[in-house]
Symmetry: C2
Subunit: 693 residues, 2 copies
């Protein structure tokens, strides 16, 4: 027996991203560079270019997370927890779709989402050479960085104009490659069906990142264009059989961020500064939401979406920090890095450009240690929707007056429509809920940075955080879409003339924000990107192109298989069933978070309880893959990724397949639930009707 309590984390980590990956299911691969040899060797399968394009154009970027077209009539399937923010925005005190679920029995009953923009990756172009050609490597680093960004802005804009497709530049391999990704975008997205949150997120925070698992974490949307359901050129067919244990599985989606190529200096910064502070900020924010929720059921309802997100992040980030703090983990990373540096030093063609790369990055991290704590505390993004509206209006109206190449990247011409869509969201805001959260964050700024900090001075102007937050959020008119539209359409002049107290506040803090950002881009981003590119080029030169880049929130494919694992001396099965759901409910006496919605409990005798419910695979995923389809080798839909198990936290930093697993809802459970629990037989037919002949 291995003592399950003391498997050293680092021993599980195969830090072998640059060793032969044919031995494992490792990798979040870009679709232009799939590991064809490994796939053939391990699974006897080689996808055709048509297979790849079909998969690429069937997958949907769901506001940073993932989803896929699953019918000819524009039906899109993602996770309930990905949909949660929209469900929450569509709900009210009177009608709580999060708690009660939502079930459209006709097209007419489908409800438009207030501010959901979906996009489908249509084409990709490697522009590394063009970007590098625009950089004068004799210039100081910050100026090279400015040149780099200007080149990307120009390339994006040229592509958008030429193709009519929204184009975003993508930096892969820490700057080793630059690509243009072109998207079809959709802004008329309507809710079709979502189960009750209690069964979508059965087991709540304890079961989150856990397995075995018993969740129906799905939600259906339909994309419309010109008032009609879109007829996608490509969509994923529903598997008539579902997956079997051992089957080859593909996951295609948008993994957000991994840190596998970070240098030791970068990881040490994360460990010592970034991660602990992020955790502290989020803990404080979660506590503030909970206090607000305690005021009553309606207040509790208002906090659901934010609290779920914070709890999810906290569980994950505490796990990450524990890995970073494991001395064996960083020691193994250091061995790997020293090995690479030694190989580089022995290779004359690389030793030159790479000579200072690691040291320069380490110096940037040292600068960040001194400055970085303040940076994170001052970051007020996502503290409050109203505050985000105000800072967005102030920044966007100022930025659009600059030439495209000189703007903050999020306000480049190609992204303005998306920005406008978000700023004009009709979704209800809750100023009373946002006020204590905003106040608490300002208090944290004051406590951490002191009254003399430029941001604090601008933000508080000598008053208390509570007074500032109350005065501003109780009187701002930005909850009104018309007011936001007036300011946006009026541009910089309208914003500067506005007497709205929140706009005035956003104007006051704007100089501090811009100075902060300039400092970071000039001193850290520039070094990480330019020196990261040197390291990546060295890796390409030494190990060929059979690498995959760290996750960047863009489309990736991972391959693996449906497989259980061993834990605590026994076997964890590759799949669970509805029997297991009923077991867990009864075992905990139907006590939260293990209680079952009445609709589900009532279906006990209608359900075929042996229907597979959730399952695990070895597919390499990370946050952002939520909502990704699990496909079999025919490219058919067999599962819906919604989580990783607790051991998959290691995947942020490296690959292991001993216990780490991707967790998915089984496609058969979705059909069974639609038919037997929710009376959504027509929706089930629409899915199954898409079964390949």
């Amino acid at each position: 027996m291995r003592n399950p309590l003391r498997v050293p984390a680092a021993a599980l980590l195969v830090l072998g991203m640059f060793a032969a990956p044919a031995l494992s299911d490792e990798g979040m691969w870009t679709l232009d560079n799939l590991p064809l040899r490994q796939l053939q060797q391990r699974y006897g399968f080689t996808p055709t270019p048509e297979w790849v394009e079909h998969v690429q154009r069937s997958c949907v970027n769901f506001g940073g997370a993932s989803g896929a077209f699953v019918s000819a009539d524009g039906l899109v399937l993602t996770n309930h927890h990905v949909a949660l923010n929209q469900l929450h925005k569509m709900s009210s005190a009177r009608q709580d779709y999060v708690h009660d679920g939502f079930f459209a029995h006709t097209r007419a009953q489908e409800i438009p989402c207030p501010d959901l923009e979906l996009k489908v990756l249509w084409s990709m172009e490697d522009v590394t050479a063009a970007v590098n050609a625009a950089i004068d490597t004799k210039m100081p680093t910050d100026q090279q960085n400015t040149q780099r960004k200007a080149a990307l802005a120009r390339l994006e804009q040229e592509s958008t104009t030429r193709t009519g497709l929204k184009t975003e530049s993508v930096e892969l391999y820490q700057g080793g490659q630059y690509w243009l990704y072109r998207y079809r975008t959709y802004k008329d997205v309507r809710l079709v069906c979502a189960p009750e949150e209690q069964i979508a997120f059965f087991g709540g925070d304890p079961d989150n990142f856990s397995y075995p698992r018993h969740d129906l974490d799905f939600a259906f949307f339909r994309i419309y264009e010109n008032g009609q359901p879109v007829r996608p050129e490509q969509w994923i067919r529903w598997s008539p059989t579902g997956a079997k244990e051992g089957d080859l599985t593909f996951v295609v989606g948008h993994p957000g961020r991994t840190h596998r190529m970070r240098t030791v200096a970068q990881l040490e910064y994360d460990r010592d500064v970034q991660a602990p502070l992020r955790i502290r900020i989020q803990e404080q924010r979660a506590a503030t939401y909970r206090a607000y929720a305690a005021r009553g059921p309606e207040q509790a309802r208002q906090t659901v979406s934010a609290l779920r997100g914070l709890e999810n992040n906290l569980k994950r980030e505490r796990g990450f920090l524990e890995i970073l703090r494991d001395p064996a983990f960083l020691a193994a990373k250091r061995v790997e890095e020293d090995g690479l540096r030694a190989r580089v030093a022995k290779t004359p063609a690389l030793a030159g450009p790479c000579s200072g790369a690691w040291n320069h990055i380490a110096a940037a991290e040292r600068a960040l240690r001194a400055q970085g704590r303040g940076r994170q505390v001052r970051d007020i993004a996502r503290v409050s929707r109203l505050v985000d509206f105000a800072t967005g209006l102030v920044r966007m109206t100022a930025e659009v007056e600059k030439p495209n190449e000189k703007r903050f990247r999020e306000y480049r011409e190609s992204n303005l429509a998306s920005q406008r869509f978000q700023l004009l969201s009709p979704a209800r805001v809750y100023p009373e809920m946002e006020e204590p959260v905003f106040a608490a964050h300002l208090q944290l700024c004051l406590d951490s940075l002191g009254a003399g900090d430029p941001f604090v001075k601008a933000a508080l102007d000598g008053r208390t955080p509570q007074a500032v937050a109350h005065e501003i959020l109780s009187t701002t008119r930005l909850a009104d879409v018309a007011e936001r539209r007036r300011l946006l359409d009026g541009g910089r002049a309208a914003v500067e003339a506005s007497t709205d107290p929140l706009i005035a506040w956003a104007r006051r803090i704007d100089p501090a924000y811009r100075e902060e950002r300039r400092w970071f881009e000039d001193n850290v981003e520039s070094v990480e990107s330019l020196e990261g590119a040197h390291i990546a080029q060295a890796r390409f030169a030494l190990d060929g192109r059979s690498l995959y880049p760290d996750a960047t929130g863009t489309l990736r494919l991972s391959y693996g298989k449906a497989a259980g694992y061993q834990q605590l001396t026994t076997d964890v099965p590759w799949e669970t069933t509805f029997f297991g759901l009923f077991d867990r409910v009864r075992s905990f006496g139907n006590r939260p978070p293990y209680e079952m919605p009445v609709r589900v409990a009532s279906a006990e005798h209608a359900l075929e309880l042996s229907t597979p419910l959730d399952f695990v695979t070895t597919n390499d995923i990370i946050g952002g893959n939520s909502g990704s389809p699990v496909l079999d080798r025919r490219g058919e839909y067999v599962g819906l990724v919604f989580d990783g198990n607790i051991q998959s936290f290691h995947w942020d930093y490296g690959w292991t397949e001993t216990q780490a697993r991707c967790v998915a809802v089984d496609s058969r459970a979705i059909v069974e639930a639609l038919r037997k629990i929710y009376g959504m037989g027509d929706l089930a037919d629409e899915l199954v009707g898409s079964v390949a002949k």
Copy 2:
């Protein structure tokens, strides 16, 4: 989140056996010294003397394991895995009760066990003063040990003669106390009901020591006297309701061995010599059985009981060794020991008798390191039933000619009837199976000790292990009960005259065996017992009598509560249900060891699947507690202990209740299975008929 993979074992261990135990559910208490104050403080419950006597006399010692009377008609309930050895002995190639189960629908169908002797603890007497008075502490240690054993033999025999009850002396607190335990014994025990092993041991070796769990690990026997079911004076009433989460629970049974009071020197010997060697020997033996089992289904059937025992022990002992090898564990033990030694040194009345105790024990362990490896290898007990018969006949017929006080303890007058019962067992033996196991063990002796070792010389006489084993086991007549009876009745003369090759072999190795044992008793046992007593007396003097002794295979009571725990960031429920069983079966595709017997699978729709199946409590247990009843505060039957979870391995060395749990079959599952799966409604009625009014 705590990283579940790296909780240091020692951090879980509250090495607080001598601190205030009121803070936890710690302790395997003798029934004369229950922790009444803690029970009242923690659970507001104080058992009456009648409650205690009722429980004591309802419990049954089941050949070293545990069980209890559960009806007025002598019905006894224990685990299937405790019954396994008898079930195996009653089975044959034609009729396999292990695989198929056994179900007596009438008293006439109940089958007598071949060699099962049960005993019930009737009374206890503290004889510490009498034993100590018989020891002349000025004599050398080995002679003190001889005096001690002679006193115990005399006291046992006087009690047996006076009371008519089989009396066994018990050494508690490493020699700190001596007691006489008097038993009623029963030799006519009949099998009533046993489910199929596949459901009793569902999940097999992987799920063993695991939780959540889904086993129906029960078996019913009935005790007869004079051809009639015995009418016990006391028996446990069946609870009409079963346990609830959080309920106070008692476990009463016979925990075998714990090592919580072992000194660091003793633990280091266990870690370095004893545990690794035991594991090696058992691994080799298991491999030999598996090779034999591979010959065919009947051979596989023959090995079931032995293999289950070996696998169970190996899983446990590998776990123990891992704890012993955790440097933090032994460091914590050393801190505790140093603390006690410092307190002793400061107390003049203790410093004298205790002055050398730890050093003397350490010296004995050093001697054992030199000698002990050979000892364990030479130990041929339980290698083969035939060999055990032969060595038993040779030893017993020689020993009984000595005065009672000078005999090996197992041949004292008070134990002769039990010895005779075992030696004359009519249960079938399988010489063809025993031969390779015996040969493999002799090979291990030869390999480890060399041809010149006195035992090896006597055992092999220059031939190969295989030749010796084959010649002896293929020609011995000891499989025949009549031959054993002839030798036993003929006494030493008959044994010495026997030409049976196995008897001749046992005579040849007898001198080496006796020399080995004498050396150990004079040089190690004597020191451990006499110096252990000094340490125990110091503990009593410093901390009062609110201690419990290490487990000694004698009757103990532990208290606790029905409670789940946290593991890998989520909650493990306190109970499972039949839903969970069906889930696990389907999750693994009904694949061994997760397949379900046809009878159980067929009952899916008859069973109330939400019936509680297994549950966990914080009761302090260890191997030997198998078959113990779990009682509620009314003293009613709510569960049947059959295992501890993997974290309970720590309980061998100290107490923790963070995750360590006792695992039991729920009383409601037993009744549900009897009625809905096995058509044993009458048996269920007999149980439920015993429900207290």
